[in-house]
């Protein structure tokens, strides 16, 4: 990630191979780093949730449980075994597609696999994030470019100031204000997103509008500012001045010369913002009672369902890291120069 640490890596002898399959090698390197990162994340998540003081079995049973009941529950949940053994057991399970059983299931007296509880919710969250991203990418490029082309004028100031304001707001504030306007005041849209299990949220567009607007507000503001910065830089470059001096029309200068060069940094910014959606979606889903993975996670944390928190956290981290690689790959494909640089 940091350019200084890359210089230190002993990769000089690989240069020739790199010239032959630069993109492949790049992907292989990033994948290896990602797997290492995820392993460390899995250890941190495990240590953070299980080794720190706290009693998951007691939390499941509630305050009135007798010590004997707690002991029994600990054995049932597998908490009586040593920590390294539990870690390897969990990691092995996750790698083979078994996320473990939820504590909510144990509390209800049965065994309930986490995957069955969350699979439908993952789809709901993807629907929410997908629609937001599909709107965010074109809108941020458009508004960022408009602001950059009009840099220093009234429209630019309006876009810049409002995006600086919105970027400072927590999602639940944006969402609460939207509910106040669109539900309490105008009575147009529902304040909670009630979606029956096993129904596609896309069939009920009205419950999606406010959550999407909430997520869009925060992420759009950040990406507009970054796209604008990249575009302003490109528009001040000498090749743009040269193109203008050559008498090309401004539209052509902006789209063919400046935009193509501003696009690469923008891709990374957009990927960062989609990653940010992953965090923002937790709060947004909770606010609107949207039945997605984020709401599920908050509920699991509230009842201290350790195994479910671990598995969901690792899934989210894997998605986050995967997105990062995809963005880097896209940038490398867009900017040929980078293929040999690293």
């Amino acid at each position: 990630m940091s350019s200084t640490s890359d210089l230190a890596t002993p990769g000089l002898h690989l240069l020739r191979e790199r010239r032959e399959h630069p993109v492949l090698l790049f992907v292989a390197r990033r994948l290896a780093a990602a797997i290492a990162t995820l392993l460390i994340v899995s250890i941190l998540v495990f240590v953070g949730t299980e080794v720190l003081p706290g009693d998951a079995a007691g939390a499941v049973l509630g305050r009135n449980a007798t010590p004997a009941q707690v002991e029994e529950m600990r054995a049932l949940m597998g908490l009586d075994r040593p920590a390294p053994e539990r870690y390897l057991d969990w990691l092995g399970g996750v790698l083979t597609g078994d996320l473990g059983n939820s504590a909510a299931g144990f509390a209800a007296g049965g065994v309930s696999p986490i995957w069955e509880e969350i699979s439908g919710k993952i789809a709901n969250s993807f629907a929410l994030a997908g629609i937001t991203a599909a709107l965010m990418i074109p809108l941020s490029l458009l508004l960022g470019i408009v602001a950059a082309v009009r840099a220093g004028r009234a429209l630019d100031h309006a876009i810049s100031i409002s995006s600086l304001a919105i970027i400072s707001l927590p999602e639940f504030i944006i969402g609460s204000l939207l509910i106040l306007v669109f539900f309490s005041w105008l009575d147009l849209l529902p304040p909670v997103s009630l979606i029956a299990p096993d129904t596609n949220p896309l069939t009920q567009p009205d419950v999606l509008v406010l959550p999407v607007l909430t997520l869009l507000g925060a992420s759009l503001a950040a990406s507009i500012r970054m796209v604008r910065a990249g575009m302003v830089e490109a528009l001040n470059a000498e090749y743009v001045t040269m193109a203008r001096l050559n008498g090309f029309r401004e539209r052509m200068v902006v789209t063919r010369y400046a935009l193509r060069n501003a696009l690469a940094p923008s891709v990374q910014v957009l990927a960062q913002n989609i990653q940010y959606l992953v965090g923002g979606i937790v709060v947004t889903e909770y606010l609107f009672n949207y039945p997605g993975l984020g709401k599920e996670l908050v509920d699991a944390v509230a009842i201290r369902d350790v195994r479910e928190v671990q598995s969901v956290a690792l899934l989210i981290a894997a998605f986050y890291v995967g997105l990062n690689i995809a963005a880097d790959l896209l940038v490398v494909l867009l900017v040929p120069r980078l293929r040999t640089q690293r």
Binding site: S2, S176, F183
Partner: protein, 278 residues
């Protein structure tokens, strides 16, 4: 001070005035609260009346009084977390940047891992393991921010440590701690504090979000984010119970970010390319 506030634009001035006002509400608000914090004064979720300008909450308590009390935790917890993040980040960043020993690559890898994990998720994992409390919340938020501060400190330290005056001090035979304290720290303070507005905004956002999720402060504490969270269902009956604390949090984060942005500009650091709030 001139260096930080010497040349403020009108919008930065407005932000500064709002910021001072919000901090005053948070600090002195409890002295002005007309009603006790935890006693019902009327029917739950009534709209504004003579005695209660913002109406009552879902338990019939005075919204104005609870709001006046609820700023302390927002300001205090986010403030302490930011200070801790800077203290820890300075120590780690200076050590890594100046010693260039094993600590340096270690710090960089750890912060890579931290950055590959959404901050809120980190806090949720921490709460699952250690329970919901003020201490966990503050330490968690500080830990999330620390790698970002440490990276900036490290980069600035690396830049300074090859300068002539540092080499001269080393050649004079001064101890490493003295070199760091007298030669390096004064020269990196500008670029390190440029981000303080962003870090503080982010601390407020994280603290408020965890409290909103019900995983930080617990009822009956009065806290702006918690007030919004516990009264969500009553929003149609008395919108002020949501509107007032939401507006205060919004004005707080926006003014901190606007002022921080202006200060960074005054320090001559381009704000365009910095990693924005999140």
């Amino acid at each position: 001070m001139r260096r930080f506030f010497g040349n403020l634009t009108p919008s930065a001035w407005i932000g500064f005035v709002i910021l001072v006002a919000i901090v005053a509400v948070a600090v002195f608000g409890p002295l002005l609260a007309p009603h006790p914090l935890d006693e019902p004064i009327g029917v739950p979720l009534t709209r504004p009346t003579e005695g209660a300008p913002f109406g009552t909450d879902f338990l019939g308590r005075d919204v104005l009084s609870r709001t006046l009390w609820g700023g302390r935790s927002v300001l205090g917890l986010a403030g302490i977390a930011t200070v801790l993040a800077y203290a820890g980040g300075m120590a780690v960043g200076l050590a890594a940047g100046y010693s260039r020993s094993l600590l340096d690559p270690l710090l960089m890898r750890v912060s890579d891992v931290m950055l590959s994990f959404p901050a809120l998720l980190f806090l949720l994992v921490l709460v699952t393991g250690a329970g919901s409390s003020k201490t966990v919340l503050v330490i968690g938020v500080a830990l999330v921010q620390m790698p970002l501060v440490a990276r900036i400190v490290r980069a600035a330290t690396l830049e300074q440590s090859v300068r002539g005056f540092v080499e001269a001090a080393v050649a004079r035979g001064e101890r490493a701690t003295a070199v760091v304290r007298r030669e390096i720290v004064p020269n990196i303070l500008g670029s390190v504090t440029a981000d303080i507005g962003l870090r503080f905004t982010y601390s407020i956002i994280l603290v408020a979000s965890v409290n909103f999720l019900g995983l930080g402060l617990q009822p009956p504490d009065a806290d702006w984010a918690l007030i919004i969270s516990e009264n969500r269902a009553g929003l149609t009956l008395n919108p002020y119970v949501i509107l007032v604390p939401a507006a205060l949090i919004a004005m707080f984060t926006i003014s901190v970010n606007v002022v921080g942005d202006a200060v960074a500009r005054n320090l001559g650091i381009s704000t365009a390319r910095r990693r924005l709030v999140r």
